[in-house]
Subunit: 185 residues, 2 copies
């Protein structure tokens, strides 16, 4: 069981641009890049967590608040927010706030041996990293430079460094980098 | 002949940390990572350009102002600065300011068919990119997250995207990514 941050990013470490848009990502077709990885990845996941910005982005771009069948995750999903967010009947979505540690424990239990996926954003993932709860960072690096936007992971993780576990290139577009995050004894 | 931005970077796209330090990079030994690439890279380079911050960093960390033999480049080097920087006799260092286009033309001529290396920083490279003068971005990605610092390339290069030309992993530390920058007709 691992707690994984799996996300697309620009070359320069932004997961959304300054307008909170992902159009730079969606210019690439579904057959390019990390969508090849995704089925293999999600098959090993048992629970998800995301922040309010990610939740609201999904609401706006998938329309799941109007049609709950458009919520694409069958797994239990924890949404961290200090605000009241719009809710919908059907999907297993659990709204939480505050310390990530007890939520992580609940996620691990729900995942029943499978992995925990931290969807984003970067600051939420940083809160898991601060407590030594982040095991892997898996990046689909899109071949674009954004220059500004939402940071991948606004933390300093230098000593010990991460460990490069896997590299996979997809044609001339995406490269997937998988790093493990050491937990010093 | 190509104009190349060749640099080390953190996973999240910083070329120096918030203290303008590279200690996060130097924790890796010379036998790890892109130092394997460097001899092959530099053999094809005929001219260098860098900004004042890079020049001052080199002065502080190599001591070439006190001992010119510590200047490590044998190739003609253009240093962009709007300020007067300390100078030294011996190395072929040419101080310039303003528009990068005429300097680029002079560098190409001096390189005599070899490549032009943009050492950094990011904003100087961005000025070349703005004019369509940047052909390749070659990154040695160190397995660290910095969270803040000097940005890799503070520009938006999205459409057309860059093209991934080469990926090389070095053990569990560095991965080198080489991208070409398209120049739409």
């Amino acid at each position: 069981m691992k707690t994984q941050y799996y996300t697309a990013t620009s070359i320069d470490g932004f997961i959304a641009d300054a307008d909170n848009s992902l159009q730079w990502l969606f210019q690439f077709g579904e057959t390019e890049g990390m969508s090849e990885d995704y089925p293999r990845f999600i098959a090993e996941v048992g629970a998800l967590a995301m922040g309010s910005t990610t939740y609201e982005w999904l609401a706006q771009h998938t329309g799941f608040l109007e049609d709950p069948s458009r919520w694409e995750y069958e797994l239990p999903t924890w949404v961290f927010s200090s605000r009241d967010l719009p809710r919908v009947d059907g999907p297993d979505i659990r709204f939480v706030r505050g310390d990530v540690a007890p939520v992580h424990a609940a996620m691990v239990e729900a995942a029943a041996g499978k992995n925990v996926w931290l969807v984003g954003g970067g600051d939420l993932v940083g809160q898991f990293a601060d407590l030594g709860l982040l095991d892997e960072v898996i990046l689909g690096v899109a071949p674009v430079v954004l220059g500004s936007g939402a940071p991948l992971l606004p933390r300093r993780l230098v000593t010990p460094p991460l460990e490069l576990e896997e590299v996979a290139a997809y044609g001339r577009t995406f490269v997937t980098l998988r790093y493990s995050v050491p937990h010093p004894g």
